[in-house]
């Protein structure tokens, strides 16, 4: 449907005196003017309300300098909560898989262990036998 044609009425080039179509339910300037069926206008999504002062957010980062300020009896890497083979350590995917197998491999489910071994084999061949850096 020609929405523009429904809405605009030109006076043949001359000036127009008076309202275009008097007695309209919706003014011509709104996006609903001239449309025969109801049209849902979407609004931008509202921001979700985030509480910036929860316990976790207010005390984030506390004890990060426990080593420097506390006589080096404790290292901040011991504060990290996470999988045992990743606490205070960083590596690429192959290194992570190998470390997981060394530290946790005998506790894993059988099929997970087999998938891990398969992945290590694939990554080893990929990194050490293909590409420019081998």
């Amino acid at each position: 449907p020609l929405l523009q044609a429904e809405r605009s009425i030109s006076g043949g080039g001359t000036a127009r005196w008076g309202p275009v179509r008097p007695g309209l339910p919706v003014p011509l300037s709104s996006p609903l003017a001239g449309l025969t069926r109801a049209f849902r206008i979407k609004e931008p999504p509202k921001r979700k309300q985030v509480d910036r002062w929860t316990e976790k957010r207010a005390l984030f980062g506390v004890y990060d300098n426990v080593g420097i300020l506390g006589g080096f009896q404790m290292h901040p890497k011991n504060l990290i909560v996470g999988p045992k083979w990743l606490r205070g350590w960083r590596g690429n995917e192959l290194q992570r898989c190998i470390r997981k197998k060394q530290m946790v491999g005998d506790r894993m489910f059988v099929d997970d262990y087999l998938k891990l071994t398969k992945r290590i084999r694939y990554l080893y061949r990929r990194f050490n036998r293909t590409g420019k850096h081998r």
């Binding site: 980062g61 300098n65 300020l69 506390g70 996470g82």
Partner: protein, 322 residues
């Protein structure tokens, strides 16, 4: 003459040592106390009770602040620097306040070591340390299955030639709907790294300097408050224009009243001195520190300027440290 407005006092021109300024400080402090007492007695009926419309005050009731100003003319607290200051630099000075009464703002003066509280304002180091604090603990648990891990897909779906369709080897290749992801996140990933110790120490020093120089650092003699009502602390912070959030740091054991008061508040937090860090200092608008904490911080942070590098980890005993 010393200005009785902000917490930071312009260095006395006569000399850096605090002993030379005793008489002027005493007269200034007593003049300030007398001025406060007169103002307090005159305008106490209106009082600093927060109006109902402010968003910072939680709850509509206000604890009536005592009409009698407790600032009795005791000798002011004058604390010299714990660690000797190099001769080419002079210490920075700050007012010592007290939390016992809302008016108790000028208890004395303290010297602060310039190599901790007046270092160059390195914003890049603040950024580095803040980003380190955010990321070194991060472990991302995102993981997707590759084509080898997705269930199924061992058989060739149709023969290589003859059907007019494209050639495929398995129904779980990344081209297929429901297939594995070739380069997705793999397993729990850690983003751990450590910055050099001296950079983390310098980050603390820069943060303390910035807080002092922007009038957001308040030094308190101890953390005793008259009531364990959280509203008292809110009114105190409002009266003294501390801002929306306050971080209180102490070395010694924390008295019960203030810990119960702070436990119920969200934006006023209390941490031991071991927990001081750049992120918390930047998150809270004001930093309130006790005199013992200042001594502790000066000693701990200045040691790194003149130490030897570690031949073995510092956690093992050294003959001269601590």
């Amino acid at each position: 003459m010393l200005r009785a407005g902000g917490p930071r006092v312009a260095a006395v021109a006569a000399g850096s040592s605090i002993t030379s300024a005793v008489s002027s400080v005493t007269s200034a402090v007593s003049a300030a106390l007398r001025g406060r007492a007169r103002a307090g007695a005159a305008g106490v009926s209106s009082g600093p009770a927060a109006p109902a419309g402010t968003p910072a005050v939680t709850g509509t009731r206000t604890v009536p602040l005592s009409p009698v100003s407790p600032v009795s003319p005791v000798s002011p607290i004058l604390r010299p620097c714990a660690v000797p200051v190099p001769c080419h630099r002079s210490p920075v000075q700050a007012w010592v306040e007290s939390l016992r009464h809302h008016d108790d703002e000028f208890r004395g003066l303290t010297d602060l070591h310039p190599d901790v509280f007046a270092v160059r304002p390195r914003l890049d180091i603040l950024h580095t340390v803040a980003m380190w604090q955010k990321n070194y603990k991060r472990i991302s648990y995102a993981k997707v299955k590759t084509r080898a891990e997705v269930r199924g897909g061992g058989r060739k779906p149709w023969r290589q030639k003859g059907t007019g369709r494209a050639r495929h080897g398995s129904i779980r290749s990344p081209l297929w709907r429901g297939g594995g992801i070739s380069h997705g996140p793999r397993g729990p990933t850690s983003y751990y790294y450590m910055l050099p110790m001296k950079i983390r120490v310098l980050g603390l020093k820069v943060a303390l300097t910035v807080k002092l120089m922007q009038d957001d650092l308040h030094i308190v003699d101890n953390l005793e408050i008259p009531t364990s009502d959280p509203q008292y602390l809110l009114d105190l912070a409002r009266y003294r224009h501390w801002g929306r959030s306050v971080l209180i740091v102490d070395v010694n054991e924390i008295p019960e009243k203030i810990s119960t008061a702070v436990a119920e508040l969200k934006t006023i937090n209390l941490i031991p001195a071991l927990g001081l860090n750049v992120h918390s200092m930047l998150k809270h608008e004001t930093l309130v520190v006790t005199l013992d904490t200042v001594t502790f911080l000066e000693k701990t942070l200045l040691w790194h300027d003149t130490r030897y590098s570690a031949l073995y980890p510092f956690s093992m005993p050294y003959s001269d440290f601590p």
